[in-house]
């Protein structure tokens, strides 16, 4: 079971956190993600509601603190069923086009831009493959390649919305979207009560090099493999 510490934070929201009036901000949910636009989803969790209280509710801890909107740690125990309608969505990838970086609170954490660039390069060209493959126990680095020139493997993290356990797959093993999706179907449990077994009701999305979330399938497979950083399978609620 994978324990994931996640925070339902405005870190990934377009909110500039001015005046702390989070209630003012609407969050758009795009129904039809288009390849060239950032995919954004959120269950409107930010509208006028406090963040979901989890085991560690800050409100319970210090009820009389004035007006602090705290963000409880979302500690999952790995039960998939708990997560269906989670408002405190662990990772609301709400992207603001205006933001230059993946991160959406401008300038936070306070890391100089040249370091951020270097980190992106590092994630793209992670070449210390031998050591990484041996020691990595988690999906910390999304890509790892062995050898120096062409990589012979291309691991990316795959998550399914609502499932605690993420997977890592080697994209080099597939040569088409169909092959990929066929494989993914077998990887993720779909025996949950509320889920359609019809795979047409799932959407495969991916995050590209620029940090944007796009719907998989619009670009040629080769282009896709060169730019994909990670994958996420979403239930397509609008059918």
């Amino acid at each position: 079971m994978e324990l994931q510490l996640g925070l339902a934070l405005p870190v990934h929201s377009p909110l500039k956190l001015k005046g702390f009036d989070l209630n003012d901000h609407e969050v758009e949910v795009l129904n039809e993600p288009v390849a060239s636009e950032p995919w954004s989803y959120s269950s409107g969790c930010l509208k006028g509601e406090k963040w979901v209280k989890n085991k560690r509710s800050s409100e319970e801890a210090f009820g009389d603190l004035p007006q602090i909107t705290t963000f409880p740690l979302t500690l999952w125990n790995g039960q998939p069923n708990e997560d269906d309608d989670r408002k405190g969505e662990k990772k609301p990838h709400i992207l603001d086009k205006k933001e230059e970086e993946e991160n959406h609170v401008v300038g936070w954490p306070p890391i100089k831009s040249w370091r951020v660039k270097q980190l992106h390069q590092h994630h793209d060209h992670d070449q210390s493959g031998q050591i990484n493959n041996a020691d990595r126990t988690s999906a910390h680095h999304q890509r790892s390649s062995t050898g120096t020139g062409s990589s012979n493997s291309l691991y990316v993290k795959v998550k399914m919305k609502g499932v605690a356990i993420a997977r890592k797959i080697d994209l080099r093993l597939y040569d088409s979207y169909q092959a990929l999706t066929n494989s993914l179907i077998t990887m993720f449990p779909n025996g949950r009560q509320n889920i359609d077994n019809d795979c047409a009701s799932y959407a495969l999305t991916y995050q590209d090099k620029d940090g944007d979330w796009l719907l998989a399938g619009d670009v040629p497979w080769q282009t896709f493999t060169e730019s994909v950083q990670r994958l996420e399978i979403l239930r397509n609620v609008d059918g």
Partner: protein, 579 residues
């Protein structure tokens, strides 16, 4: 003799201390703080000091004008200038804000044609300016650009071409337009005076043969920091020409062909016995790392912040570095790696741990409070820490400062805003209270995590030596900021973002701001009216509001307040309102 100087001397003749002697003594004074004190003693000392000063450090380029500086100090050879507020490093200051070096260079060309050194931090510098500098100051020796913007490698080419006596070219962390590496080839073939060359942050290839020739010609080269395009195979060819190197920044440390190059590398490093600083090492692996071991014995500063080392690799390396005083790492080393730091580096004074996945809160790797605690048990002399983590507890920090009470710089960044102590779910107030109470020498503090006004009450009350305070996503009300402004007698820089501090807090510092260098507040609750009031009450402060597109008319989104004898800026762009 300058008639003004003659008058001064005549006046001084009656004093018991001959001017010439005073000046000879004062020339020895290097610290600008000491010099400031000296200049305040009396008129004759003021004058003696100003004539004997050769280096001027201007911490805020808008606090004074070039004219004022050149009038007071006629004999300057070296200038250090800082421009934009520090939060510009994190994109909080819009582009074209200002801090252009141009007007200063015009003054230098006229009044300091013998200028030798220029060190700039967060200034805007154009290629034209660099060329102008190179052509106007024939004796120019040292250029250092840190976190500057506005120039390209063409500007560097101009410096390389024209500065015949250049000893230092230090280009760090700048936002420059890296067009090509051809600037390096602009050093003339007979040029040999370079002692410091740092182009680690540039991304284009330089001509390696030109670099090799340059390094072999410059027999006094002490500092060489190359960019990551220089390969491990090329490195020995540079090292053999630079036996005097004390600081080395390598390029890529990835071994393409394992067997053959290793011995060459080992030999090269065996010769580098004067190294005290090592950096670079990008793409380092466990295979190439051991080549460094012989050279590590005398290392005092190891910068691994571009090398994603694992804990085991770091541990093996640190065994060879008993003299380390400064260590920078990425959080890939994890807590286990930090335990190795605690075990192997008893002399450590500075530790910086940078995050590898700052924007991905999925990561449950990185370092935690345990790593920090482990370091504190082993490195009792720790005085500078910069620590990025995702979880922390009050108890951990209390233990840490008990072990290391000598902190002068404590910068803790819990990366998730408003995060409480993850074990007790309380605010992190107790942590920072412990820091300020225990670390009496604290000069610089950066706070994070869930914090109430209590933290700031303690800071105001106990942080007697605090000079710089950085606050983000913290506090409950105006009272917090009021406590800081009401206490902290030595406060010079206060930078705040996204805190619930408003006009009452801003205005409570009326008496304090003139004794401070600057105040930055962004994303707070300050309004235009509050700023106007401040500006009205304190005419010797520059109160500037940076307007952000689409914001409320009456809100003061970003406020920058600083003391100045130069009056309001004359070069402010339209989005900067001077009140």
């Amino acid at each position: 003799m300058d008639p003004e100087r003659k008058k001064v001397l005549e006046r001084v003749a009656v004093s018991t201390f001959p001017d010439e002697v005073l000046e000879r003594v004062l020339v020895q004074l290097k610290s600008h703080k000491d010099r400031s004190s000296v200049s305040l003693v009396c008129h004759s000392w003021y004058d003696a000091e100003r004539f004997s000063r050769t280096h001027v450090f201007i911490a805020n380029c808008y606090s004074v004008t070039p004219e004022i500086v050149s009038r007071r100090f006629p004999n300057i050879r070296s200038v250090s200038l800082k421009g934009k507020p520090r939060f510009s490093d994190f994109n909080l200051v819009p582009p074209k804000w200002g801090a252009d070096i141009r007007s200063w260079l015009v003054m230098f060309a006229a009044k300091y044609p013998f200028l030798e050194e220029l060190r700039l931090k967060r200034m805007t510098v154009t290629d034209e300016s660099l060329e102008f500098l190179a052509l106007s100051c024939p004796n120019f020796k040292g250029l250092s650009l840190l976190s500057c913007d506005g120039f390209s490698t063409d500007g560097l080419a101009a410096i390389a071409t024209h500065c015949k006596n250049l000893t230092e070219l230090d280009i760090q962390e700048n936002d420059l337009n890296d067009k090509s590496g051809s600037w390096l080839s602009c050093f003339p073939e007979n040029f040999s005076s370079l002692e410091v060359l740092n182009f680690a942050n540039l991304s284009n290839d330089v001509n390696f043969e030109a670099l090799e020739r340059l390094v072999s010609r410059c027999k006094s080269l002490k500092v060489l920091k190359v960019n990551r395009n220089i390969t491990l195979e090329q490195l020995p060819r540079l090292l053999i020409h630079a036996p005097l190197l004390t600081e080395l920044g390598t390029g890529s440390f990835l071994q393409e062909h394992p067997a053959c190059q290793y011995s060459e590398l080992e030999n090269a490093f065996n010769k580098c016995m004067n190294l005290n600083t090592l950096s670079g090492l990008s793409e380092v692996t466990a295979l190439s790392l051991p080549a460094l071991y012989p050279t590590c014995a005398n290392l005092t500063f190891l910068n691994l912040s571009c090398a994603a080392l694992q804990s085991g690799e770091l541990a093996k390396l640190l065994v060879h570095c008993p003299c380390l005083r400064r260590l920078w790492v990425l959080d890939t080393v994890e807590d286990k790696g930090l335990e190795a730091v605690g075990s192997n580096c008893p002399l450590l004074e500075e530790l910086r741990v940078f995050p590898t996945d700052p924007f991905d809160e999925d990561t449950f790797h990185g370092v935690t409070e345990s790593g920090f605690i482990a370091v504190s048990y082993g490195c009792r002399r720790l005085s500078y820490v910069l620590y990025f983590c995702r979880q922390m507890t009050n108890a951990a920090v209390e233990t840490i400062v008990q072990n290391c009470p000598d902190f002068t710089h404590f910068r803790l960044c819990i990366m998730n805003p408003w995060q409480p102590d993850y074990q007790t779910n309380e605010p992190m107030d107790k942590a920072f209270c412990a820091v300020v109470k225990t670390c009496t020498r604290l000069q610089r503090l950066a706070v994070s995590g869930l914090l109430t006004d209590l933290t700031f009450e303690y800071i105001g009350k106990y942080a007697k030596n605090l000079e710089t305070l950085s606050v983000a996503f913290a506090g409950s009300s105006d009272w917090g900021m009021q406590c800081v402004l009401g206490g902290c007698p030595k406060l010079r820089k206060l930078e705040i973002r996204d805190c619930p501090f408003g006009n009452a807090a801003l205005l409570s510092g009326l008496d304090k701001y003139e004794s401070m260098r600057s105040l930055w507040m962004s994303g707070c609750k300050v309004t235009m009216n509050g700023c106007r009031l401040l500006a009205k009450e304190m005419p010797r402060l520059n109160v500037e509001v940076i307007k952000v597109d689409g914001s409320n008319e009456s809100q003061a989104d970003k406020v920058y307040v600083y003391r100045s004898v130069a009056g309001p800026r004359r070069d402010a762009p339209p989005f900067v309102l001077t009140l």
